[in-house]
């Protein structure tokens, strides 16, 4: 009911304003946009007072003000205009939309700059761009909206994060960009606390020369998030809420029981075995496991309320929100609830001093399932389980005699497969045993600053920022029997509690002055940063005298022998920095930015503790030259370029030293006593040094026909001395791999951003698009082998990617197929130079492997590179149409030029189910040239070898958002005192154009595009209301 109170408050303040204005002049007028169309809802404030009004549907307004006063016109998405009244009683004003405004301001780190003089490659997303995006994770709201940033959701699980790569994969580990929220560094995993509707702007510093101001941690790009601040003037109350329903966009076509039985028979017979299912017809259709796990009506809602306002002394912005979302896969085990609060304020203490603070808090409670895991979880179970096993066994046999089988509400046991085992168990039974598992987090992020305007030219600012995070989880595991190797005979309850704290102090001094046509800003700064302060503990008890997870408690009297606990401390990470930036321009025509930063990191030994990172950028605004004739074709053109170096210390603590760790224990004697053993964890590397990323960038920003913005950037990024754990030979005898500076890698690319705005009759049209092209290549690897494996593996097949000089990072690597042997004659004619058979053990129906090295036999040396997991192209397009009170938006986004490893079927589980593509397998001459025969004795390795058979194109174009909105006419809603009442219908992930045969081609993670049963993105329909006072 907060809403009602604020509403009354509003009404009262308006009444008071009217009372106070009795002595003033009545003024009226109209507000237009640049196309001469009236703008409703514009806030008109008398400067220095809290008196304000709002323009009506036709853009008209009336207000009473003193004749010497000033009116301030403001509206979201438009530049603020101030008009001195000077005795006038009728004032018409034209507002310029911000994106076309040259005075748009960009946050650049430790300050902001006019866009027109920015020299770096910085992409920006403003609040108005995010307005129409349903409240969710911040990474998702960036996806497809800025060029040069590849974003792929790690999973469709509610609240799950996304993998964000700025200008490609910069290094081998720790490629997350640096997130800075209101000046506080927040780790990539922790930014889930942000509430999307609190965001004023997001700036992505892509080029090294811009990011260099963040020195050591900027190698993978910097993302600056600025939250909303209050504005002096009328208090604004904004409510935005929606309800929605989610369902899977697609399910896989899997074999039914009869088809499955036939293929299992065929497989067995082909290997000389018996017919497994003599009576196929009796098998029928069988169980649809996917139907059992997917929820076609998963609910979702979001409510956001914000209040902002202020006066000449203080301003504030505060918000409250709640979001709740059920996952589409086994919703009981996959749900997310977030409550958040924010308070930002600024206060003018005196003429000189200003104090400000930001504070955000989020509480999240969630539960989740394995989102992309081949060994466990409902998705991989539903795909691999045989369709013969029933969902619920109505006629239990001996196999169900175990007292711990999980039963449904009617007391019947859930079906247990005797054909498919290991982690692939009945997902409904699995759901039951996971009911008592959930996690919670509480995040507090904020800062306070004191700013002093010492002279007209000198400003100093001290900022203290902090982030405190708590995350807990608890799991009650009942006794269960889901299969022969998947059972627990003693229940347990565990609870873990973790805390981490980070703080930083920054002191900066800025000097700004103008000498004739020379503009100069010099920034000097110092910062100290400490993170990873904290620790956690887990306690676990066994044998609780209960069966229901709801009764789980640590208060039960459990004997000491059934109690376990473990506790850990985090190791602090510290940085100390000095930095400076110079911005200079001549007539805003010739631009220069220079940055230098020196960082010291606790992660390096004395030999290399400090690193210095310089950069510069130059710009030339061609259209400001005298020789440039103003014309209607090319209105503005700025050419800019630069070069910079940034660092990376993302390698973990103490890697330069050899630590002696415990945990290598042994038990002597017959009393069960355990002695603690210690051993060296790894080898020393005192020369471990900073990884450096240098980047050259050149680009231009332009405006054509007063309506088309075009920005193009070209970059080349070189990372040298990449920090990585070296896979050392096992004979060295250390348990853990040492770290080293082992490789160099290049990224180069082109980014194009396009914006177009036009009025066609009564329709306002705006189109935005961006396309990025990226090329990644490893140019040096220090070890003698010239390649590195070990980042993406799969049971039976082994490693599926390899990092090698000349190839893109973690490229797919395996055998290349050249069709299928249709008959023995083809096998016999596939010979080497000496006439021997290249594949002597092959049978008709087996793959013909390409003998890459030409040595006349198929061996590991024939493996070759089969494609990259990194999308070459990423793109996004937004279309906005406004007509009268209706607005319509379409947003599509996609990626192309990458391969996906389709590992949905577990090969090592012989009788796992197949996708229906298996029906088109080779069964005789001429039946198939791309899907081999099925046999239990796959001596040719058709399925057991990593090959291009497992790779598919990852290209996709997704209709991410479609939204239709209707705003009630302002004369209607002004009766209830509202300035805006808009209703909207949104569809998210309506459909995806792709040839990929898995659930979802968008697969994030350390290595993109490894599909082990990824949790797909949900298709959601939402109905929402936006109300503003």
């Amino acid at each position: 009911m907060k809403l009602t109170k604020s509403f009354i408050f509003c009404v009262l303040s308006i009444l008071f304003s009217i009372y106070g204005q009795a002595q003033d002049l009545p003024i009226d007028g109209k507000v237009y946009d640049e196309n001469g169309l009236p703008i409703p809802g514009v806030s008109i404030l008398i400067k220095g007072t809290s008196k304000a009004t709002v323009s009506d549907f036709d853009g008209n307004y009336q207000i009473k003000a003193a004749s010497k006063g000033t009116l301030v016109f403001s509206f979201i998405g438009y530049s603020i205009v101030e008009e001195s009244i000077k005795g006038r009683t009728h004032i018409e004003v034209k507002l310029k939309s911000e994106s076309q405004s040259l005075n748009e301001v960009i946050v650049v780190g430790y300050g902001s700059q006019k866009k027109s003089v920015v020299t770096g490659a910085i992409s920006s997303v403003k609040a108005k761009d995010l307005d129409k995006v349903p409240n969710g994770r911040i990474e998702q709201s960036l996806q497809g909206r800025v060029s040069g940033v590849t974003i792929a959701a790690s999973s469709g699980q509610p609240g799950s994060n996304s993998t964000v790569r700025v200008r490609g994969v910069t290094t081998f580990a720790g490629n997350d960009p640096l997130w800075v929220v209101d000046g506080v560094v927040v780790d990539a995993g922790g930014i889930g606390f942000l509430n999307q509707s609190d965001i004023e702007s997001i700036e992505v510093l892509k080029d090294a020369a811009s990011a260099a101001i963040y020195g050591t941690r900027a190698a993978s790009g910097v993302i600056l998030v600025t939250t909303k601040k209050g504005k002096s003037g009328k208090m604004t109350v904004n409510y935005n809420g929606f309800i929605g329903t989610s369902s899977p966009e697609k399910t896989l076509d899997l074999l039914n029981a009869t088809q499955y039985g036939a293929l299992i028979n065929e497989k067995s017979v082909a290997a000389g075995g018996a017919v497994v299912f003599p009576n196929l017809a009796a098998l029928g259709v069988g169980t649809d496991w996917q139907k059992a796990i997917f929820n076609n009506n998963a609910t979702r809602y979001s409510h956001e309320l914000s209040i902002s306002g202020g006066n000449d002394v203080s301003t504030f912005y505060t918000s409250f929100g709640i979001q709740d979302q059920e996952g589409i896969v086994t919703s009981e085990n996959s749900k997310y609830n977030k409550k958040n609060f924010r308070l930002n304020s600024t206060h003018k203490l005196s003429k000189i001093f200003t104090f400000g603070q930001t504070f955000g808090f989020a509480h999240v409670k969630s539960s989740g399932i394995d989102a992309n895991n081949e060994s466990n979880g409902p998705l991989i179970s539903a795909i691999n389980l045989d369709p013969i096993t029933p969902l619920v066994e109505m006629n239990p046999t001996n196999a169900y005699s175990n007292p711990n089988v999980i039963r449904d509400a009617n007391g019947n046991p859930y079906g247990i497969s005797s054909l498919v085992g290991q982690g692939m168990v009945n997902p409904l039974a699995y759901t039951q045993i996971r009911l008592g598992a959930f996690g919670e987090s509480n995040d507090f992020v904020g800062n306070t600053y004191l700013e002093a305007t010492i002279t007209k030219h000198i400003k100093a600012r001290s900022t203290l920022g902090g982030k405190l995070g708590y995350w807990d989880s608890q799991i009650f595991t009942p006794v269960y029997y889901l299969g022969a190797t998947y059972s627990v005979s003693k229940n347990s309850f565990s609870k873990s509690q973790n805390k981490s704290f980070a703080w930083n102090i920054e002191n900066i001094v800025t000097y700004t002055n103008q000498f004739g046509n020379h503009n100069l800003t010099v920034l000097l700064g110092q910062g100290s940063y400490v993170d990873n302060i904290g620790g956690g503990s887990t306690s676990k008890i066994y044998g609780l005298p209960i069966t229901n997870y709801r009764d789980a408690s640590f208060n039960f009297d459990i004997p000491q022998s059934n109690r376990e606990s473990s506790t850990y401390d985090l190791t602090e990470h510290k940085l100390t920095s000095l930095f400076s930036r110079i911005n200079y321009d001549y007539k805003e025509k010739y631009l220069f930015t220079g940055i230098i930063r020196r960082d010291g990191s606790s992660r390096f030994g004395t030999n290399n503790k400090f690193g210095v990172f310089p950069s510069f950028n130059l710009g030339w605004v061609v259209t400001k030259e005298d020789f440039w004739k103003q014309n209607d074709v090319l209105n503005t053109l700025k050419i800019r370029g630069g070069y910079g170096v940034v660092g990376n210390d993302n390698i973990g603590e103490f890697r330069y030293l050899s630590l002696v760790n415990g945990g290598y224990n042994y038990s002597f004697g017959n009393q069960g006593a355990i002695s603690s053993g210690y051993a060296n964890l790894t080898l020393d590397n005192p020369d471990l040094r900073w990884e450096e990323t240098s980047q050259a960038n050149i680009g231009f920003e332009s405006t054509f026909f007063n309506s088309l913005n075009l920005t193009v950037d070209l970059f080349k990024k070189k990372t040298s001395g990449i920090l990585r754990y070296i896979n050392i030979p096992g004979y060295v005898g250390v348990a853990s791999n040492p770290a080293g500076n082992v490789a160099n890698m290049d990224n180069k690319g082109i980014e194009v951003e396009l914006g177009y705005k036009k009025k066609l009759g009564g329709v306002n049209l705006s189109v935005n698009g961006n396309v990025s092209y990226l090329e990644n290549k490893v140019v040096y690897i220090a070890s003698d082998s010239n390649y590195i494996t070990g980042d993406a593996g799969y049971p039976t097949i082994g490693q599926v990617t390899r990092t090698q000089v000349g190839q893109s990072y973690n490229s797919f690597y395996g055998f290349k197929t050249a069709g299928i042997f249709q008959n023995q004659a083809e096998i016999n004619s596939y010979t080497n130079t000496s006439g021997g058979l290249i594949q002597p053990n092959a049978r008709p129906g087996d793959f013909r492997w390409v003998d890459t090295d030409g040595n006349g036999s198929i061996d590991d040396a024939d493996k070759q590179f089969l494609g990259s997991n990194i999308p070459k192209y990423t793109f996004g397009f937004t279309l906005n149409l406004d007509y009268k009170n209706f607005d319509f938006m379409v947003f599509t986004q996609g990626a192309a030029g990458n391969k996906i490893f389709q590992g949905l079927r577990r090969l090592d589980v012989g009788d796992a189910n197949y996708q229906t593509i298996a029906l088109s397998r080779w069964t005789g001459e001429g039946t198939s040239n791309d899907y081999p025969r099925l046999t239990n004795n796959d001596t040719n390795g058709n399925f057991g070898k990593m090959s291009d058979f497992y790779l598919e194109k990852g290209d996709y174009l997704r209709l991410k958002l479609v939204q239709l909105g209707y705003s009630l006419p302002s004369d209607m809603i002004s009766k209830i005192g509202a300035s805006k009442l808009r209703m909207y219908l949104t569809a998210e992930n309506l459909f995806t154009l792709t040839k990929y045969t898995g659930y979802d081609p968008e697969i994030g993670g350390g290595v993109f595009g490894i599909d082990k049963g990824v949790y797909p993105q949900a298709r959601t329909f939402m109905l929402g209301v936006n109300l503003q006072f």
């Binding site: 005196s350 000189i352 196999a399 005699s401 085992g421 290991q422 002093a452 010492i454 100093a460 001290s462 022969a484 190797t485 002191n507 110092q526 100290s528 066994y542 022998s561 059934n562 109690r563 376990e564 401390d569 190791t571 940085l575 010291g600 990191s601 606790s602 030293l657 630590l659 002696v660 760790n661 945990g663 290598y664 224990n665 042994y666 038990s667 002597f668 004697g669 017959n670 009393q671 002695s675 053993g677 210690y678 051993a679 060296n680 080898l683 020393d684 896979n727 030979p729 096992g730 004979y731 005898g733 250390v734 080293g740 390649y787 049971p795 061996d859 590991d860 090592d908 012989g910 239990n936």
Partner: protein, 502 residues
């Protein structure tokens, strides 16, 4: 004036925080672990380092890829078994003699080298440890004996292995080459001889059972000599271990009167045991650290257990916990041991028990109905503490026991009265009459006496019988006697793959 003061205050604050952020600000010392430079300072730290060397010996029966389970699977006495043809890729591949450099059980290489690294590090640091010289000498002897045991496993399994006696460093680690097997054997023998000179004759069983003794090192040395073809030396040192057959040896060891007592889990460090691997449920081993240095449980037990074993009501069948049906016994061994007094202790005849309606089970992969009774997971041995029940069994396993050294000495001697007496002693213990001592008789006795204890594959290879006995298992003579070197060891190194593998 007031604002000016504010101004200075501001600058002062800034200057202070600037000063506080000097270079020591980013110096952090580790907590919870030690720096190798100043570790190994005193007796307590040296003891911890020695425990770390012992840690690896648990590989005999701890963790999934343990010596006994895997080596059994490659012999003619057992199949890999398990849940399916792909349940444990390495053990399945070895059972079918289809090892490749990729599916080879890499921990058999890496774990042993970790033990060697730890032994080498301790031996390097010991001279500077502040502790008594006697104790230093004993620690060094233990480290050398353990290093010898680890190299012995390596050279038997992989044959061509690097021989490292000092810890490697980041700069020289790629310059290593494989040593000739003869050189490895020579070093093993040297280490053991040096250890024998120092090791204590006995240790207090309650607190130190499992630590190396003179007798254990001698027994190992005898075994090493036998594998190294030095029969005379083997017989000589084993004679010291065995003493007079059927009587206690000089250290008090003798055959247990009852063969079945060898397999009672609580019968740890019994008189017949010369060197055994210690297990306990006290580490509360849990899946997340299964097989790590913190897991002190026996994994072999659950591996060889009967899949889904369930007794019918009123059953008189053994009270067993269910297991994973690895190392099922072949019909061949069954037939060989069927009438032997050791049958009951060796084979859990599930086939008969099921036929009698006493218990039921689910047939795993390669099921024969015969399970390895010596290591059955028993409900009486189930942990009542925390951790996963499956991996907290506490039955110890023998690395070498007196019946083994009796038969090895007999084999080394080949014939004669003493050989006959040694063979007779082993047979008499289980009530079998004397048979004339021949190599064939000794081979047969070894097979039945030591069935399922992980020796058979090595024995077959040593006797040159592997090719015939394992022909139907895919064994290729001249190749499958040893394992391939894991791929990871060949990348960027000077190591060469074993013959026949790529």
């Amino acid at each position: 004036m007031k604002t000016i003061k504010f101004k200075y205050l501001f600058i002062v604050i800034a200057m202070i925080s600037l000063g506080s952020c000097s270079e020591d600000f980013v110096d952090i010392t580790p907590k919870g672990s030690f720096l190798s430079d100043n570790y190994y300072a005193d007796e307590a730290q040296a003891t911890s380092a020695l425990v770390g060397v012992y840690d690896i010996i648990r590989k005999n029966s701890g963790s999934f890829e343990n010596m006994i389970a895997v080596m059994n699977a490659g012999s003619d006495d057992h199949y890999a078994g398990g849940g399916s043809a792909t349940d444990g890729e390495g053990i399945q591949a070895f059972s079918k003699h289809r090892l490749t450099s990729i599916n080879v059980l890499r921990p058999f290489w890496t774990d042993h080298y970790q033990g060697i690294f730890r032994a080498n590090t301790l031996l390097l640091k010991l001279p500077n440890v502040a502790m008594s010289d006697n104790l230093k000498a004993r620690f060094a002897a233990e480290a050398k004996a353990l290093r010898a045991i680890y190299y012995f496993n390596l050279v038997r399994i992989f044959k061509n292995v690097p021989l490292l006696l000092d810890p490697l460093t980041a700069t020289n680690m790629y310059n290593v080459e494989q040593a000739a097997p003869e050189a490895v054997y020579a070093q093993i023998e040297k280490d053991l001889l040096e250890a024998i000179a120092v090791l204590p004759t006995t240790v207090p069983v309650a607190t130190d059972g499992g630590r190396l003794t003179k007798c254990a090192a001698q027994a190992m040395l005898g075994k090493v000599y036998l594998y190294d073809g030095k029969k005379a030396e083997a017989a000589a040192v084993l004679a010291q271990v065995n003493g007079t057959p059927r009587q206690a040896n000089q250290y008090g060891n003798k055959l247990l009167p009852n063969y079945n007592d060898l397999w009672v889990f609580s019968n740890k460090f019994n008189a017949e045991s010369l060197l055994e691997v210690s297990h306990t449920n006290a580490s509360n081993a849990d899946w997340w650290f299964w097989g790590s240095g913190m897991d002190e449980g026996n994994t072999l037990n659950v591996m060889v257990g009967v899949r889904n074993y369930s007794r019918t009501s009123g059953s008189t069948a053994a009270d067993l916990a269910p297991g994973w049906s690895f190392d099922v016994i072949t019909q061949d061994l069954y037939d060989a041991i069927k009438t032997d007094p050791r049958f009951g202790a060796t084979v859990f005849d599930m086939k008969a028990i099921k036929a009698a309606g006493q218990a039921d089970y689910v047939a795993g992969y390669q099921d024969t109905g015969y399970f390895l009774n010596k290591f059955m997971p028993r409900n009486s041995d189930k942990t009542t503490g925390g951790g996963a029940v499956e991996i907290n069994y506490q039955q110890n396993s023998y690395i070498i026991r007196l019946a083994d050294t009796y038969l090895m000495e007999a084999e080394a001697l080949g014939s004669g009265a003493r050989a006959q007496a040694l063979l007779d002693a082993v047979r008499a213990r289980v009530g079998l009459p004397s048979v004339p001592v021949t190599l064939a008789a000794i081979k047969n006795e070894r097979r039945l006496e030591l069935a399922g204890e992980g020796h058979r594959f090595f024995d077959l290879v040593r006797w040159g019988d592997a090719a015939t006995k394992l022909a139907d298992r895919g064994f290729v003579s001249g190749k499958d006697e040893i394992w391939p070197i894991p791929t990871s060891e060949l990348q960027g190194t000077k190591l060469k793959q074993n013959p026949g593998y790529n």
